[in-house]
Symmetry: C2
Subunit: 498 residues, 2 copies
């Protein structure tokens, strides 16, 4: 039977070839792009696919770009779609489609699964995923976790077995600090087997700060970068490459002392955010108890430049980075760099606290209904993505909140202006707000700007009575709460004075 | 025997009067300041004394200011000194002396211990201290703590027993959230006893953000303020008063919903800082293990506006606020507002972690000497205050570091450009750097700008050999470390690659 890989965005099926041989097309692509340096991007996910088109539209160089991924059911469609005219990522940033179409027009972007392509690469960018396996209690408290480096090592081995002696390998994947050094050892071993000199290869690490959303391309092209190399020559070559794709006159590059430092910098950045959110979780409970509106308190504190980054809690933390990066760091401290047993307890605790937030948001809802059961209530969720302004549902905290409602047999309606299909749950999501008639509970679950200062929502809700309006992310203004409270009950996470 | 209270700044002794009656002087002061609204400031410490002269030099009103404190051995000298021509706080901010002298010249500032003065007050500002009693293990791990509200309550009772019916009471003291409500109850009780109406009094809370140092006065006059009142009228009156002493056109006031909110805002601000430092402690250990220079990593991360407030660890956290405010909050959550048992564990942990920093800084030093003993070494400490650019030694982490060195019979020399007398330890501190000749160890313990890019220090140190130079706060540049490493050993907390 033929294996099929479906593009979830277009619903088109692509048959995975039985004979994995793409030599002809690759040779064809190479000969059409004579004279251009070849950039090979490993991994065509949210980072790799967009990095590919940024390289194909580089500011100061004309590259030919080969995007690679595995010929698996979950990934093959990305390869096939790219070559078929459909970019595998949708975005509110119009530049994404524009860059893709421009690359297709120029003919300098091709995708393949065949490692035959590696031999042509002048530069390899590693953008594969490196996940953390978490174990949790029923209350979503973190009870254990592990990092499996095998996928990463295997991708690096492909480079070592196939690439040219003087290739530049730039690792962008978020890794446990120490992984680029591990990668160097693998490359060295493989080069030795092939009789190649390890002295000529360049290996570096420079992490991306990609933000899917309206500034997707700019988050690569127009943003600060930190980089390092395993030696001076490597760092120099990484720098030269980055200068061709990033506006470094406006966003100067920062070189760090070694690859451990850039790897640590990335996971520290995200741990800083994760920890600052988790810290506010306990203050949110305090505010609820003390009759304080934590949102206005945080606004007041943010007026101080030294306190601008103070965060707000809410329904929870989602996305691919903040939910795992502190664990990558702690794992590295335990298993690669450290003394073998002591990790980063505060950073681990941050992840655990944040993981429990949606469960608390649900308990908070239940607490309004003391005596009355939530069973069978009609609930409207406003927003399913984890971040405002973005249609990204990866590890969305709304997922756990939703599952809890379903568990007690609520009838849940979903709305999100950016999501029509909730991939992780296989659900369609409405993009039509409706008038909320017949709803028992309306929950603001994502802070999309479309929900803020929305007179239609406020009007429709105030025309109804006895609805519970529950704001889990502080999107309602004081004035809106006052209006809504006249006919309905309003509750806000982190607010005790309503 | 007569009780004496010594001004530690001038060494002058003041005899505490046996008969505590200052009516004549107070009446005299009042009659000389006819027509001016009277501001009475409770507490003449680092905040109250400077707040007094800010009020005496108010931007938009001509006040007469009465500073009050207790006639105790530890406080009476502040009262006597103010009336004697010596301001009780020294500062690198020239405005402090200027404002004091101007008030003395105008004759609108008088200090007293006599509550007889309270009856004249139109506005009372509460600036007394409210301390936390900590218990710690031998390793400075926090093992318990308590808050004693009695001093605060007694100060408020003085107001309730003596003040006019329509006085404005503005609490500035950092308190456990809920304390202004407690104060209101005390005022109400006392007014009832005196047959006064509670409806006419105004009570509010507005916390100061005073920073002793070169911008001492500006940290009151030219900075953002948050305020609240126990009712609308109170909030309005607090606002009117603040507008007379603060440049509110440049630094607009922020009104919060209730007094719990402003009280929480203050302790949250400081807990945010304390927690962000404690978070970095574990990353500092990680950096040391992984051969990473955490200072350059943090510099790189701070380029992101969303990450500007990421902190650096160091020898420890000192001062009056960050070392206790998270505990005030946790105590309030347990004892005033909350469910009776659950405090703020992350915020408590932050204090505990920070309290242990100087002990770690000492252990780190010991670890370089594996095999060799530190006993009897000659050690030069550069800096004894807890903050760069300031001569404030309250709860300085250098104290614990110093005591550890003394414990193992080191011969310790002290230097600090801002401190000539270390009050807490009763030690004189040199302000002459010397050439370090004969020293075994030189430790940078405070990040004073006088130590950064100081060619004399670097020259003197590089002329010597086999000194251990230990930077606990990252004041040395990469270039300086390179120079110093040629003849000496250099170690930096949070740096693993030297």
């Amino acid at each position: 039977m033929k294996k099929v890989s479906k593009n979830p965005l277009t619903n088109k099926d692509y048959i995975i070839p039985e004979l994995l041989d793409d030599k002809k097309n690759i040779n064809n692509f190479i000969s059409k792009n004579q004279g251009k340096p070849i950039v090979l991007v490993q991994g065509l996910g949210f980072v790799g696919s967009v990095m590919s088109i940024v390289c194909a539209n580089a500011l100061n160089e004309e590259y030919a770009v080969i995007g690679t991924d595995l010929p698996s059911v979950s990934s093959y469609w990305k390869i096939a779609s790219i070559n078929d005219g459909f970019f595998p990522v949708t975005s509110s940033d119009p530049k994404v489609e524009e860059y893709y179409l421009n690359a297709k027009k120029k003919g300098n972007f091709y995708a393949t699964y065949d490692t035959f392509s590696y031999q042509f690469a002048d530069i390899v960018i590693v953008d594969i995923n490196l996940d953390v396996q978490k174990e949790s209690t029923l209350d979503y408290e973190l009870s254990g976790f592990d990092v499996d480096l095998n996928g990463f090592k295997s991708a690096i081995r492909d480079i070592g077995r196939n690439c040219k002696e003087d290739v530049l390998i730039l690792i962008e994947t978020t890794v446990p600090p120490g992984a680029t050094k591990t990668a160097s050892k693998i490359i060295k071993d493989e080069y030795l087997k092939r009789g190649l000199s390890f002295d000529k290869v360049s290996i570096g690490h420079s992490y991306e700060r990609v933000m899917p959303g309206p500034n997707y391309i700019d988050s690569i092209q127009n943003f600060y970068r930190v980089y390092s190399g395993i030696n001076k020559e490597s760092a120099k070559n990484v720098e030269s490459f980055l200068r061709t794709i990033i506006k470094t006159d406006e966003y100067p590059l920062t070189k760090l002392g070694n690859t451990n430092a850039t790897e640590m910098s990335k996971v520290l950045e995200n741990s800083y955010r994760a920890m600052n959110i988790s810290f506010m979780v306990e203050w949110s409970r305090f505010a609820e108890e003390a009759g304080v509106n934590l949102y206005e308190v945080v606004d007041a504190i943010r007026m101080r430049p030294t306190h601008k980054n103070i965060m707000l809690p809410g329904i929870g933390v989602g996305g691919y980075c903040l939910t795992k990066d502190p664990l990558l760091a702690s794992w590295s401290k335990q298993n690669i760099n450290g003394d073998g047993y002591q990790g980063l307890p505060m950073s681990e605790q941050a992840v655990s606290t944040n993981d429990q937030m949606p469960m608390y948001a649900f308990s908070f809802l239940q607490s309004f209904f003391r005596g009355e059961s939530l069973i069978g209530k009609k609930v409207q969720l406003l927003g399913v993505s984890y971040l405002s302004g973005v249609g990204d549902t990866r590890y969305s905290p709304v997922e756990i909140f939703y599952k809890n409602l379903i568990n007690i047999k609520c009838n849940v309606s979903l709305h999100d202006p950016y999501v029509s299909y909730w991939e992780e749950l296989g659900l369609t999501v409405s993009q039509d707000l409706g008038d909320f008639d017949g709803m028992d509970i309306v929950v603001f679950t994502t802070g999309h700007s479309e929900y803020a200062n929305n007179k239609i929502i406020i009007n429709n809700l105030s025309n109804l009575q006895n609805i519970l309006i529950y704001d889990t992310i502080g999107v309602l203004s004081n004035e809106e709460i006052e209006i809504l409270s006249k006919t309905n009950t309003v509750k806000v996470l982190g607010r005790g004075d309503i």
